[in-house]
């Protein structure tokens, strides 16, 4: 199995001097579904931004075998798609169809190919008939699914999602879990919702204070009550 993401000795400090990431070493295999869990301020979102090349710290980050640097950025952006925590930041075009087509059009694909990708992405996200709607006419759950569709249309190998379950009701949350579970891509999901992480991921990476505290099988880590409580988290409800 090839490595989708590899991080070696990554550290990052914010301009005000606050340490956000400290000596992070992480390797994610292709096709893995990984939950980045941790309390608020643990460095989860910063780690996702570093993976996608939006933040540069000391150390090295490799995505799909390519080092994250200016020279490789175009290929890296095509390999890894990032879904931001607020779908309103992700959906910036006047219609959903235009938003989903934004990435493929920037990749230089022909209109017919783009249309096919848009239709497929919308269908996968359960928004088949909504292409012509304006983003501000969508519900919170639809916006979340639409934000994922904007990434799916680029057919990336890796998808990062920052708090994808935020402000979703149980039905939309379950729909999202169903959608993420059926995606074949490598998923890296940053979340504070342990039940959501437990339902989607097979591996958990616990971060706190900018460091990786634990890394392993989702059940082994997330059902360890002592470990979870120590880092301000809770154990999830058991599956089934």
């Amino acid at each position: 199995m090839s490595k989708a993401v590899e991080i070696k000795n990554l550290s990052y400090k914010y301009p005000d001097g606050t340490t956000a990431l400290e000596d992070i070493n992480l390797s994610i295999q292709a096709g893995e579904k990984v939950a980045l869990i941790g309390p608020n301020g643990a460095g989860k979102s910063t780690l996702l931004l570093a993976m996608t090349g939006f933040l540069r710290g000391s150390g090295k980050v490799f995505v799909d075998g390519l080092e994250v640097n200016k020279k490789n950025m175009r290929q890296i952006r095509a390999s890894i798609g990032s879904c931001l925590d607020n779908p309103d930041d992700q959906l910036f075009m006047p219609t959903l169809q235009d938003d989903v087509a934004f990435g493929p059009l920037n990749m230089g694909l022909e209109s017919e190919q783009v249309e096919q990708r848009v239709a497929e992405a919308l269908e996968t996200a359960g928004l088949g008939e909504m292409g012509e709607k304006a983003p501000h006419h969508l519900s919170a759950g639809q916006k979340r699914a639409a934000a994922i569709a904007t990434i799916l249309s680029m057919r990336p190998k890796i998808i990062t999602l920052d708090e994808p379950d935020g402000s979703l009701d149980p039905r939309n949350r379950n729909n999202l879990i169903g959608l993420l579970k059926k995606l074949p891509q490598t998923l890296v999901i940053a979340t504070c919702d342990m039940n959501f992480a437990f339902a989607v991921a097979e591996r958990a990476v616990l971060t706190d204070g900018g460091r990786i505290i634990a890394d392993g099988d989702v059940e082994k880590i997330m059902l360890d009550e002592q470990l979870m409580t120590k880092h301000g988290l809770e154990t999830p409800k058991r599956r089934g």
Binding site: L49, T52, F54, R74, R77, A78, G81, S82, L84, N86, D88, D89, Q90, L91, F92, M93, P94, T95, Q97, D98, A101, F102, G103, L105, N106, M107, S111, V114, E115, V118, E132, K133, A134, P135, H136, T150, I151, M154
Partner: protein
């Protein structure tokens, strides 16, 4: 939060909605230019010009109540401008309507002219945005050769103005929830300034995040759209009717009504 979106009828279907966005845009701009360029003394003919956008709105099924509500919302500035002309132009002019003859201050003529032109051009503008999806309008502007940067800015304005309004409402609500007494002008101004600052800070934060979302999807400065615009026979007929209506009024009716 739900807003009364100006384009809420743009998703309907009618013969006007199906017209090419470029055709509607050009006709609206030319019609507006003709109406604005009418002399200030040509007040009566404005009623005839109003028939154009009125007919378009009726054909498109846009409720007139919606139209006049939106005209009213943006009217305060124009009302001040129109009524102020009554005070600074007091020269007397004679106006005739059939056998009737009046003498009035020229400022009143100017006032009615400004109001009439404002209402008609606003009706035309609302007819345009209420019958054209914003994405198609942007695509039309781009195909008409408008600069990319302008098209992108308009797209963002349309997308984020509602989010900004929502955030402003939230901040005002949070303030109201804790406002137990009036703090006096100085402190109230200070609080208001902090609220505006907070809104600005959040807007910058949003802009940075949108930039990340755009760069993450390979944005290179070009605005692409999947909308496919096509000029059809109905568009040609619409152009012909609009031109005939505007020119007909100018050539045949203006000499009679002045």
């Amino acid at each position: 939060m739900h807003h009364a979106h100006i384009d809420k009828f743009a998703y309907q279907d009618s013969v006007i909605h199906r017209l090419d966005s470029r055709v509607k845009f050009i006709v609206t701009v030319l019609f507006t230019a003709v109406v604005i360029s009418l002399p200030r003394t040509s007040v009566s003919i404005l009623f005839c010009y109003a028939v154009g956008p009125f007919a378009v709105l009726v054909l498109a099924g846009i409720p007139l109540r919606f139209v006049f509500k939106h005209i009213l919302i943006v009217s305060p500035f124009v009302l001040v401008l129109a009524f102020s002309s009554v005070f600074y132009d007091r020269s007397i002019v004679r106006i005739a309507f059939g056998p009737f003859l009046w003498e009035v201050a020229a400022g009143w003529l100017r006032c009615f002219s400004i109001l009439g032109k404002f209402i008609i051009t606003m009706m035309a503008l609302i007819a345009l945005v209420s019958t054209t999806r914003f994405g198609n309008l942007l695509c039309g502007l781009q195909k008409l050769g408008f600069p990319n940067i302008l098209v992108i800015q308009l797209g963002f304005l349309y997308r984020y103005i509602f989010i900004l309004i929502d955030r402003a409402h939230h901040i005002i609500r949070a303030r109201s929830g804790r406002k137990l007494k009036n703090l006096g002008v100085r402190r109230e101004v200070k609080v208001a300034a902090s609220m505006v600052g907070s809104l600005l800070g959040r807007s910058i934060d949003t802009a940075q995040r949108v930039n990340i979302a755009m760069e993450g999807r390979g944005f290179n400065g070009n605005w692409h759209s999947l909308s496919r615009l096509r000029v059809r026979a109905s568009d040609i007929i619409f152009i012909f009717l609009a031109a005939a209506f505007t020119a007909g009024l100018f050539i045949f009716v203006k000499p009679i009504l002045g």
